[in-house]
Symmetry: C2
Subunit: 487 residues, 2 copies
Amino acid sequence: MAHFPNTKGFTDTLRPIRMECDILDLELEGGVPTQLSGTFHRVHPDAQFPPRFENDQFFNGDGMITLFRFRNGKIDLKQRYAQTDKFKVERKAGKSLFGMYRNPLTDDDSVKGMIRGTANTTPIVHAGKLFALKEDSPPLIMHPLTLETEGYSNFGGRMQNQTFSGHPKIDPITGNMCNFGYAAKGLLTRDVSYMEISPAGELLFETFFEVPYYCMMHDFGLTQDYAVFHIVPCTGNWERLKAGKPHFGFDTSLPVYLGVLPRHGTAKDIRWFKAPKTIFASHVMNAYNEGTKIYFDIPEAEGNCFPFFPDINDAPFDAKAARPFLKRWVVDMASKKDEFESITQLTTMIDEFPRIDERYMGLPYRHGWMLVMDPDKPFEGPGARASGFRMNNIGHIDIATGKTDAWYCGPQSIIQEPQFIPRHKGSGEGDGYIIALVDNLVTNYSDLCIFDALRLPEGPIGRAKLPFRMRSGLHGTWADESKLPKQ
Amino acid sequence: MAHFPNTKGFTDTLRPIRMECDILDLELEGGVPTQLSGTFHRVHPDAQFPPRFENDQFFNGDGMITLFRFRNGKIDLKQRYAQTDKFKVERKAGKSLFGMYRNPLTDDDSVKGMIRGTANTTPIVHAGKLFALKEDSPPLIMHPLTLETEGYSNFGGRMQNQTFSGHPKIDPITGNMCNFGYAAKGLLTRDVSYMEISPAGELLFETFFEVPYYCMMHDFGLTQDYAVFHIVPCTGNWERLKAGKPHFGFDTSLPVYLGVLPRHGTAKDIRWFKAPKTIFASHVMNAYNEGTKIYFDIPEAEGNCFPFFPDINDAPFDAKAARPFLKRWVVDMASKKDEFESITQLTTMIDEFPRIDERYMGLPYRHGWMLVMDPDKPFEGPGARASGFRMNNIGHIDIATGKTDAWYCGPQSIIQEPQFIPRHKGSGEGDGYIIALVDNLVTNYSDLCIFDALRLPEGPIGRAKLPFRMRSGLHGTWADESKLPKQ
């Protein structure tokens, strides 16, 4: 009796989909470059059952993983739920047992102590496995091609940390998967660990440290020598959970920090640089260091970007202050002062979901892509986006020149996070393709669009047409054929 | 490289879907009566690969079977291709090998002699198996609950006939599945066989006879004593196939007949009654006999209903003449004249896809339901329906009083064939539910709507909401829990 509530997270453009499906050889318009051989995995939250609380929010849905399998100019689609422990016990019960987003106090007694993860944030291939990630839990391991779930991993007992963020980064030099986990020693704790996992899947080391205060640490920056952590005051505590408030609330009284940990250092080596004012930032475009100087590029907003994690003092949500712009934060480990050296705005485009040519992860780089909101463009779709944002462009920035360009998806559509794919192994930075789901909110069809990455304004060179609209998702990753298990 | 042609059968509301999928516990609005326990199978044509000929038509698509599994007030959805021999050999090749609709002259040499069936017309449960049917082929056997394909059956070698129509009828008294096959001894032959299959799945007998001329025999009538065959001049011949014309063409120079075969008779017992003029008719609502007098209820049109099977002399399609109205044809086996006794119009509703309470199959009955086109109702959807029709009402007729009522689906939608389900085993005729897919052509979502069968105008009492629009289908059937294999 799946009666979903008539609330924001389950209606209009966020109506449930909950569909596992297969389509062989997706219908195409235009072409798919035949050399594109590999997988694009992405995920959206999609509650298996109606929530226990009708005001439950989007981010709490069970992870539905989509696999676009590219081969020989064809694309096959496969979509399956990540079978988390939560998913399995709820499927058996035929209803939700876990309660609100990151609030175990709202769970059914029968699931106390279980891992609450939904694996709904990022799927990424490493060491021949698909890591389906949610920042509050260990990695869930799935098969990259069949999407069958193996279960949670702690790297053969080597990972002491209880969590694994949704934004690991593959170091292009070592091939290590570098990641961190926050609330590493338990819910709401200030403990964080930084980890590196070898290309073979072995946890090489794990370093624990403490952050200035507990907050949402959704992403981080990786450079060749440092792991870099931005601390923004999207905070939580037991009082909030006991009161049934959202896990996170925005506290403008708290400072913003950038923490810098030498990649082979320990807690004593970390330095905390304080930002000149309280700001909001979430996804990192890229970071790199030149000696002791660290460059950290991130869309930054003056105020809270998340209306569903409201101000702790009930200040009204300020949609204008929530507009992020890509900025460059600079700090210097040789500096005597624990302050930012500079913050520079890189573009006037309102942008989020920044992506790069990941062969340049942690290295000096030139090209970035992101979702862009152009508020002056007309909108013909129904209702309003839950976030207040409508990402209607894919933007590109040439960091070297500051030049930007973009492709506009038209008045009926929104765009999901873009993904860069190199044209071939030896191609230069940015020489390749951007793929992104474009969701028409009127016809309720999605197309996976393929662009020449440096010629976005020319529009898609190919479209794989889906016979349904994909639910709004979080993140996706590309894995080249060489990274996949043999089928 | 699935590039579909930009032609009528593959664009607009007929764009390909090709999606195998599962949704557990469909999202509901309103309620599903908890006593509804069983399966609703339906099918639509959905070409696995782009056609070999771009003007190929809708009816030639591979059968995609949808299972709505009703249990405990919940409905699960499962959708799978019927894995016909054609489907399997084409999947292996990664492309279409079979050519135009019922024209083997257009096939790739590699598939010469193979069964060309698509299993895209009717799925029906009998003897614990799902029969996935297409009138040009033997029955394809599938599992009713897993939708796994076993393969074609000839009833253990007992069926000599090469075909099995998409409109078998379960005799409510004997439980036999009664059916016929035309072109029974080969493509375009005038041979027809009538068969009955026991509730255990055994072919009890098979009687061959010849029809006056080869034509599309899509359906038939069953009474307690007779099998009744309407012959309308939707004809075909080798010259058409050699010329690459559609298999069928409408020939207004040919007479229309009603053939009556005693159910345990042989070819010598059949009588052919001639209609007063040439008309078109396809789906039978019901038939019954009182002694030698036979009542045969069928939507009848003055002219050809199928624009895709055009007039053999290229007369333009006449949409007005194509409007069918439910009529009652009466013939008498005791009559000395080989003519109809009467034709009576039963309603002024433009109707097709007639259905009944199947506990009254072949028996005197009172209640009928059908799709109804009300041309005066507004339409806000895109493009035009391929057939020129837009079925925008479900209609009900009380045959005893002539009274009709209907439910209108609104200006954006169309409705697929309705299905009657008794409220419970002992309920009176018509006391039960109508279910039907309602497809919104603007939002591209379908709802499986549940109505009180005798209170259609009150609208759905429940809706199971699909996250996509179901492709327009042909036929469906309900199987009560008692007819299903144990899972």
